[in-house]
C-alpha cells in the first residue's frame, strides 16, 4: 500500500509537471512584451471588481500608491519618482490628459466611463510616446473600438466596509460609523458604422471621508449637512470619421469633483470643487501608408472653485492648457522613424496677482526603430525642450535581444534633464505670486531658484519561456537623480483639531539613488487557470536625508499572487494575495509620539481579495461579487490616512447591442 501511495504520488507530481509545461492549454501570443509594461484587460479589470479608475492601483505590480481617504492616490512607478512628485503621465487613446491641479492627480476625475475601457497599459520605465516623455511612468488607457451598430452599456457598483457599530451604537459599546463606498453609476451609448462612431458616456461616483482617523480633521473645514462625502460627476463624448484623408477623432469631456483633498502644506482636508474640461482632436493622415502624419491638439481647463466650508476657503485657481503635437512617421520592415514637435502652453488665472501667468514648453523629438531581425530590435529616442530659457533633453535607448527562442533580454536606459518649470508644479506658481498657501497660514520656504532636474535610469530584464504556457522574468533597475527639488515637511500635531501645523521647505539640489529588482512568473496550469506571481524589491540608500525621507515611505518588498479561474465559460473566479512590507514616514515621528491616532512606521500587511463573476442573459449581463481584504487586516497606506478593513462590493453591468 505504501509503495502504491509513493508511486501514485510520483505519478501525480510528474503529471503536474507535464500539465504545467506541456499541457494542452492554448499558447499565449508570442509577441514579446516589454516586461516593464503591465497590461490590464477589460476582462481582468471586471473580474477584479474594479469600479473606479483609482482602484487600478491595487492591481499594479510595480507601482506603489498611497491614499489618505481611499479615493485620491499619490503614486510612484517602480522607483521613477517620490510619492510627493506624482510624476507619472496619463494618456487616453494616445492623447495626454492632465488631471493635475496644483500637483495632485486624481485618476477618478478622468472624464471617461470605466466601461468604455478596453485595456490599460501601465509602463514602469521612462518612455516617449506620442511626443510625451513620461519620465515618471505612464498609464495609457485604451477605449473600446466601437462595434458596428448601436451599443448601450450601464453599470452600478457599491461596496461596504465592515466594522459599523450596528445596534451597539445605542450602547456603551458604540464605535464610529464606517460608511459604504460608492455607489458608482456608469452609462455609455455608442452608434458606429464603417469607419465612424459617436459615443457618449457618463459616470457618477460617491465616496465617504468619514474614517475615524480623518473624520475630525475633515470637519475642521467641512461644513456640509451630512457626513463628509466626495462626489464625482463626469460626462464625455467622442466621435470619429475615417475617409480618404485618414482617420480623425474629436472628443470632449467634463468632470466635476467635489473633493476633500488633504493639502499637506495646510495639514488638513480642504473642501474644493474641481472642474475639469478636456477637449481635443487627433488624427492621422494616410494611415497604413509607408509615411504618415499624426497630429494631436487638446485643451484642458482645470478650475479649483470653493466648496461649502466653515471659512469659505478658496484656492482661487484656474489653469488653461493648450497642447499640440505633430509628427511624421515612416515604417519599414526593418527601420522606422518618427520625427515630431509638440508644445504645451499654460495660462494660469488666480485672484492672487501672478508675476507671469504664462508658461510655454516646446519640444522636438525623434525616434528610430530598428528591427534587423525577428530576434533583435532597438529603439533610440532623442527629446529636446527649452523652457524659460533652460534647455532640457532626454535620450532613451531600448534594446531587445533574443539569443534563443526561449530567452529574451531587454535593456533600456534613459538620460534626461528637465527644467523644473516643465513639470508645472505648484511651487513654480507660488514663486510667481500665487499666495493661497501663505494666506491660509501655511509656512512654505522656497529655494532661491529652481534647478533643472537630471536623472539616469537603467532597466534590464531576462525572460525565459520554457513552454508556451510558462514565462519567468527576472528584472532589475537603477535610477539616479541629481538636482531634484523635493519638499521636506515637518508636521506638528494639533490635538484640538487632529490636524497638522506643517512647515514645508523646498530643498534644491537633492540627489539620490534607487535600486530595484524582482521576478515575475506566469503559469497556465490548465486552460482555465491563469496564475501570476510577482515580487519587487526597492532600495534607496540614505546618502541624502531629504531624498531618503521622501523615499522611505515606499516599502522595500512587495509580493503578489494573482489567479484567474474560468471553470465554465460564463463563470469566473478571481483571487489576489498581496504582501507589502513596512514603510517609514520619518516626518511623522514626532506626531506619532504625541498621539495614537497617527503612526510613523506603517507595519507590513497581507491583503487577500476574492471575487466571483457570473455572466447572465446571454452576453448582456455580468454580476460581480467580491470580498476585499478577506483576512480583515486593518491597514493604512499613509500615517495620517484612513484604515481599511474587510469590505465587500457588488457590481452589475449590462450591455445591449443591435446591428453590426
Amino acid at each position: 500500500m505504501t509503495r502504491l501511495l509513493q508511486t501514485s504520488g510520483r505519478g501525480l507530481a510528474a503529471a503536474l509537471v507535464l500539465v504545467i509545461f506541456f499541457g494542452t492549454a492554448p499558447a499565449w501570443a508570442q509577441t514579446p512584451r516589454d516586461p516593464s509594461t503591465q497590461v490590464l484587460t477589460a476582462g481582468e479589470i471586471a473580474q477584479a471588481g474594479i469600479a473606479r479608475f483609482s482602484d487600478l492601483f491595487r492591481l499594479l505590480d510595480r507601482w506603489y500608491a498611497v491614499s489618505l481617504d481611499g479615493y485620491t492616490y499619490d503614486a510612484s512607478a517602480f522607483g521613477l519618482g517620490a510619492l510627493q512628485e506624482n510624476s507619472w503621465a496619463l494618456l487616453v487613446d494616445g492623447q495626454p490628459v492632465d488631471l493635475g491641479a496644483l500637483g495632485q492627480q486624481t485618476l477618478n476625475a478622468l472624464p471617461l466611463a470605466l466601461s468604455a475601457v478596453d485595456s490599460v497599459e501601465v509602463v514602469s520605465r521612462p518612455v516617449l510616446i506620442h511626443g510625451v516623455l513620461a519620465q515618471g511612468g505612464l498609464i495609457h488607457v485604451h477605449t473600446h473600438s466601437p462595434a458596428e451598430g448601436a451599443t448601450v452599456r450601464a453599470s452600478i457598483s457599491a461596496g461596504n466596509e465592515v466594522g459599523d457599530p450596528g445596534p451597539f451604537r445605542y450602547t456603551p459599546f458604540a464605535s464610529p460609523n464606517i460608511d459604504r463606498t460608492g455607489p458608482v453609476y456608469e452609462g455609455a451609448a455608442t452608434v458606429a458604422g464603417p469607419g465612424r462612431h459617436l459615443r457618449i458616456h457618463a459616470r457618477a461616483d460617491e465616496h465617504h471621508a468619514s474614517d475615524e482617523r480623518i473624520r475630525e480633521r475633515v470637519f475642521v473645514l467641512y461644513a456640509g449637512e451630512k457626513e463628509p462625502r466626495l462626489f464625482v460627476g463626469a460626462v464625455a463624448a467622442d466621435g470619429a470619421v475615417q475617409g480618404r484623408l485618414g482617420r480623425h477623432t474629436a472628443y470632449a469631456g467634463f468632470s466635476r469633483f467635489q473633493d476633500l483633498a488633504f493639502v499637506l502644506p495646510l495639514g488638513r482636508e480642504v473642501p474644493r470643487d474641481q472642474r475639469l474640461t478636456h477637449a481635443g482632436l487627433r488624427g492621422e493622415f494616410f494611415p497604413g501608408a509607408a509615411t504618415g502624419l499624426r497630429y494631436r491638439v487638446s485643451y484642458t481647463g482645470s478650475d479649483l472653485a470653493p466648496r461649502t466650508s466653515r471659512t469659505g476657503i478658496d484656492f482661487a485657481w484656474r489653469q488653461h492648457r493648450l497642447r499640440g503635437s505633430y509628427e511624421v512617421h515612416t515604417a519599414g520592415a526593418a527601420l522606422g522613424v518618427v520625427l515630431g514637435v509638440s508644445g504645451d502652453l499654460y495660462r494660469s488665472r488666480s485672484a492672487y496677482t501672478l508675476t507671469d501667468t504664462g508658461l510655454f514648453v516646446p519640444r522636438a523629438y525623434g525616434q528610430v526603430r530598428m528591427r534587423p531581425s525577428p530576434r533583435t530590435g532597438a529603439d533610440l529616442t532623442v527629446h529636446l525642450t527649452r523652457t524659460e530659457g533652460v534647455l532640457g533633453y532626454g535620450a532613451l535607448a531600448d534594446v531587445r535581444l533574443a539569443p534563443a527562442p526561449q530567452h529574451t533580454l531587454r535593456l533600456a536606459g534613459t538620460v534626461a534633464r528637465a527644467p523644473y518649470e516643465a513639470w508645472n508644479r505648484p511651487w513654480l506658481w507660488v514663486r510667481r505670486g500665487y499666495g493661497f498657501f501663505g494666506e491660509e497660514g501655511a509656512r512654505v520656504n522656497l529655494p532661491s531658484s529652481f534647478d533643472a532636474e537630471s536623472r539616469l535610469t537603467l532597466d534590464a530584464s531576462w525572460t525565459l519561456r520554457p513552454s508556451p504556457r510558462a514565462a519567468l522574468t527576472v528584472f532589475g533597475a537603477f535610477r539616479r537623480f541629481t538636482s531634484q527639488t523635493l519638499a521636506a515637511v515637518t508636521p506638528r500635531f494639533d490635538p484640538a483639531t487632529t490636524a497638522f501645523d506643517v512647515r514645508t521647505a523646498l530643498r534644491p539640489f537633492v540627489a539620490g539613488r534607487v535600486t530595484a529588482g524582482g521576478a515575475a512568473l506566469r503559469l497556465r496550469l490548465l486552460p482555465s487557470l491563469d496564475q501570476r506571481l510577482h515580487y519587487t524589491y526597492l532600495r534607496y540608500p540614505a546618502d541624502d536625508v531629504v531624498f531618503f525621507e521622501a523615499w522611505s515611505n515606499q516599502p522595500w518588498h512587495r509580493f503578489s499572487y494573482t489567479a484567474r479561474f474560468v471553470p465554465v465559460d460564463r463563470l469566473s473566479l478571481y483571487a489576489r494575495l498581496g504582501y507589502t512590507s513596512a514603510s517609514d514616514w520619518p516626518a511623522f515621528d514626532v506626531t506619532a509620539q504625541e498621539t495614537s491616532l497617527y503612526e510613523a512606521d506603517l507595519p507590513a500587511y497581507w491583503l487577500l481579495d476574492l471575487a466571483v463573476q457570473k455572466r447572465f442573459w446571454a452576453e448582456r449581463g455580468r454580476l460581480h461579487f467580491g470580498l476585499r481584504n478577506l483576512l480583515n487586516e486593518p491597514h493604512r497606506t499613509h500615517p495620517a490616512g484612513a484604515v481599511t478593513d474587510l469590505l465587500f462590493d457588488v457590481r452589475v453591468q449590462l450591455r445591449f447591442h443591435t446591428g453590426g
Binding site: 461596504n160 450596528g166 445605542y170
Partner: protein, 195 residues
Amino acid sequence: MEDVRFPALAATAIFLLGVLPAQGQAPEPFDFVEVRVSGTQNVHRSFVHEFWEHGSGGELAAATPFYLGQAEAGIALHRYRAAAPPVPDFDATLLFAGWGVGVEAGSRLRLDGGLRVGNYRMRFEEAAFTGSRNESELALGAVARLSVRPAGPLRVHVSGSYTKVHTFNRLKLWYLSAGLAYRFSSPGWLKSFLR
C-alpha cells in the same frame, strides 16, 4: 457556544469537500427552482442578547442547480426587541446569496450544506435619533439542511445555520429553522436569462 463557530464552519467545509465528488450526476445548471419557506428560531445567546431579545423570524429562498452544487438567493427577516432600554427595537433583513452541495440518501432524504454571504440591513425604531435609521453590514454564514420528500415536488426540511454579521462588535447568530420547499422546472426564459 461562540467557541464552536470555527468547528462548525470547518465541518461545513469538510462536508462540502467530501460531497463534491458525488456531484457527478447533478442536473443541468438552472434546470429547476426550489422555493423554500422557513420559520427560524434563534437558539443561543451572545453579546447582542445582553441588550436585545431576538427570537423567531422567517426566511424565503430560491435555490437552483449551479455548475457544481446548488446556488441560492433569499431573504431572511429578524426582529430584535429591546431587553435593556433605552436601546431601540430594530428589525433586520438579510439579503443573501449562497452556494452549497448535497447528498441524497435514498429517494426521499437529502442532506445539504452550504455557505452564505449577504447584506444585513438593520432598521432602528428610533424616532429621536437624528442620524440614519438604517445600517447595513456584511454577513457571512454557513447552513446545514436535512430534507424529506413526502410526496411529489414538496419537501419538508429542518436546518441549522450560523450567521456572523461583521459589525465592530460582531453579531454571532445561531438558528434552527423548519419549513417547506417546492420544486418546479425552470421556465425557458428563466434558464436562458440565468445562463
